[in-house]
């Protein structure tokens, strides 16, 4: 069973004047699903391409099990590039066998593995069709099979869920989960934050070429500015409290943001003093809100 850690260590990359990556660092451990989120152009794809050796970094290092990744270890990575790519006029089976062989498998095991993934991803009827004759959804499945066919020790997938129908999303999620639980570190990028939140063990948020936040979803959500949801007939009472700001008001329901050090119990007392309180809860931000927060703060600071 493959065991190990994929480390991205302070990678930087410039294109002329444009800084694409600046000290990008994170690691993905064995058996872990790592979600890589960030707005377009934040540097996700560049990071993955550097990890796969398709691009060269200006500085920094990618390590696998503590050793710098070279061509031989790279062969053990399963990769799905952002821009999908397969030979359009090659048959599904031939294509997968070829890719498995290129990744170092013997011809026999390449055949076995290709047939295995074709069956598992529901492509059996299409195995001798040319890729260009397949529907977009099926092409995506072949693309996934192409990343998995050599039984990789690490999976790096750039936007694996984009363009998938709900059924295919389930298939993909299932396969990734399964790979992770078999001890393979899996890193993938996505814009579907609800999916990332549901699926990933850990999440990294990228902005302007750097990792600005990373951790488990719970860790990320419990950090940040505390917020309260209060349902009471009026909000006039908040004006008397220091460090409390109404950021959203919807009928009798409002969302308050507390400055650091403000006691929420004091807020509750003030609310009760003003009238009946029907709901009083701590609001934990969703990943989407966190993401928005991080990205806008970054944008403001630069």
């Amino acid at each position: 069973m493959p065991e190990g850690v994929l480390e991205i260590d302070r990678i930087s990359k410039r294109y002329g004047e444009v800084v694409a990556l600046q000290n990008m660092s994170f690691d993905v451990r064995a058996g872990e699903l790592f979600g890589f989120v960030g707005s377009n152009g934040a540097g996700k794809t560049t990071t993955m391409r550097i990890a796969l050796g398709v691009l060269a970094a200006d500085s920094g290092e990618v390590r696998w099990n503590g050793r710098a990744v070279d061509l031989d270890t790279r062969r053990r990575i399963g990769y799905m590039p952002e821009e999908r790519g397969l030979y359009p006029r090659m048959r599904v089976l031939d294509q997968l066998v070829y890719l498995a062989e290129l990744h170092g498998m013997s011809t026999n095991s390449a055949h076995t593995s290709a047939e295995n993934w074709i069956a598992r991803l529901g492509l059996r009827d299409r195995r001798t069709d040319e890729v260009q004759r397949l529907s977009l959804g099926n092409q995506q499945r072949v693309q996934l099979a192409a990343a998995l066919v050599h039984e990789p020790d690490v999976l790096v997938l750039d936007e694996p869920f984009s363009g998938l129908d709900p059924v295919a999303v389930d298939v993909m999620s299932h396969v990734l989960r399964e790979k992770a639980s078999s001890g393979v570190p899996v890193v993938f990028s996505s814009h579907q934050l609800d999916l990332v939140e549901r699926l990933c063990d850990r999440v990294g948020i990228v902005s302007a070429g750097s990792m600005v936040a990373s951790g488990t979803v719970d860790e990320l959500r419990s950090g940040g500015v505390p917020r309260l949801v209060v349902e009471s007939p009026t909000t006039d009472w908040t004006a008397t409290l220091d460090g409390v700001r109404v950021i959203e008001k919807n009928g009798t329901r409002c969302v308050l943001e507390l400055a650091s050090g403000v006691d929420d119990q004091a807020v509750l007392h003030a609310a009760l003093a003003a009238g009946p309180v029907h709901e009083f809860s701590r609001q934990r931000p969703t990943l989407t809100e966190l993401f928005r927060n991080v990205v806008t703060t970054e944008a403001r600071s630069t």
Binding site: L55, L71, R75, E83, Y87, L102, G104
Partner: protein
């Protein structure tokens, strides 16, 4: 995985994929059909040229035997036909079933032809006529014509050739031209195929997956070897069938000449292909779409076309002239001109060796440079990559 395994995997894919395509099978069949058509046409024309049908009417019919013999000594074959009505025969000359019609009685013979009469035939007829007159006059003077004829037959000029003409010169020229034409075709077609393959991988983005597991030079070399082998296979199939047909139809006396030409052709195909394929691949790696391919390939195709067109003309004119000799030594032109000149038997050993050495040196330089351009440009999609940028990084 070793580099050799990576290269051979890529080469095998290129070979199998290409050989399986319909375009390869149809293309090869079309070339063979054209070749066969040419050979058959050539043999028919050859036959036709050598035989003239001459109609003889009235007293001229007595010339049939001497005319046939005389013509044979001139290297042409004459078939004679006795005709009864001149009008009918004239019509036959008009529609081409007779090449000439001879009427009247010696010495006042008339020959009727459609356009211009065949010069050899006319000369033969004149000779026959003069001989007849001579025989008649000798007989009148009381001399035995047979004795005179025998004496005449024994007289001839002894010719000493300072530069003997190769009796096979025509055949050598033909083989040289065919070899040059086949190499021209193979280099252009298979070079373009390499270029298309590079762009296909680039435009379909599969190259990103491939380069995550093989190095650029392995991918490039595998592609060149794989497609080069397809070209070689086609060249061998075409040549073998071509040589077979030619000997079957007696167009060219194949023998050793054809075999040597085939070997020379294969050697120069390999040299030429490795020289040009890398250039084609490097040029193709600069663009991202098939539509843009033409613009970067034109300078390379033009070089091959110029080498062929100019070379062929020079070769027919003077195969050992200084221009064609120098051109046939230079790497860009050598793969087309040198095998042609070798087949014609005009290339000296030192020229051949020098051309091969220069070609090998050029291959080494081009492979290094082209590999560099390819490695730098093949992952850059979008706008066309400038050659200078691809060389710098």
């Amino acid at each position: 995985m070793t580099s050799a395994r990576a290269v051979s995997l890529v080469a095998r894919r290129e070979f199998v994929t290409k050989v399986r395509t319909r375009s390869f099978l149809i293309g090869t069949a079309v070339i063979i059909a054209v070749l066969a058509g040419y050979v058959v046409l050539q043999s028919v024309l050859f036959d036709d040229q050598q035989r003239s049908v001459v109609g003889l009417s009235g007293q001229a019919t007595q010339l049939a035997d001497p005319l046939r013999q005389k013509a044979k000594s001139f290297g042409i074959e004459v078939e004679t036909r006795d005709v009864t009505t001149v009008e009918n025969a004239e019509q036959q000359v008009r529609d081409g079933s007779l090449d000439a019609l001879v009427t009247g009685a010696p010495p006042a013979l008339k020959m009727i032809v459609k356009g211009s009469g065949d010069e050899v035939l006319t000369t033969a007829l004149n000779d026959v006529l003069r001989q007849q007159v001579l025989v008649a006059q000798l007989a009148e003077a009381g001399i035995t014509p047979q004795q005179v004829a025998q004496n005449l037959a024994n007289v001839s000029v002894a010719v000493t050739a300072l530069e003997p003409v190769d009796p096979q010169r025509g055949q050598r020229l033909a083989i040289g031209l065919i070899v040059a034409a086949l190499l021209y075709y193979s280099l252009l077609v298979y070079g373009t195929m390499v270029a298309q393959g590079v762009v296909e991988e680039k435009s379909s983005r599969v190259v990103e997956i491939l380069l995550a597991t093989v190095r650029p030079w392995q991918l490039l070399l595998g592609k060149v070897i794989g497609l080069g082998a397809v070209g070689l296979l086609q060249l061998l199939v075409i040549s073998t069938i071509g040589l077979g047909l030619s000997s079957a139809f007696d167009v060219i006396d194949v023998g050793a000449l054809g075999g040597t030409a085939l070997l020379t052709g294969v050697l120069w195909y390999l040299l030429g292909f490795f020289l040009y394929a890398t250039v084609f691949a490097a040029a193709a790696s600069l663009v991202s779409r098939q539509e843009e391919l033409q613009s970067v390939l034109t300078p390379i195709s033009m070089t091959i076309i110029v080498a062929f067109v100019a070379g062929i003309n020079l070769m027919i004119g003077s195969p050992s002239g200084p221009t064609v000799t120098v051109l046939s030594l230079l790497p860009p032109f050598a793969p087309i001109l040198m095998p042609g000149r070798m087949a014609m038997g005009v290339a000296t050993t030192w020229q051949v060796v020098l051309a091969i050495v220069l070609a090998l040196a050029a291959i080494a330089a081009i492979t290094w440079l082209g590999g560099k351009v390819y490695a730098n440009a093949v992952l850059r999609t979008g706008a066309r990559v400038k050659l200078r940028e691809a060389l710098r990084t």
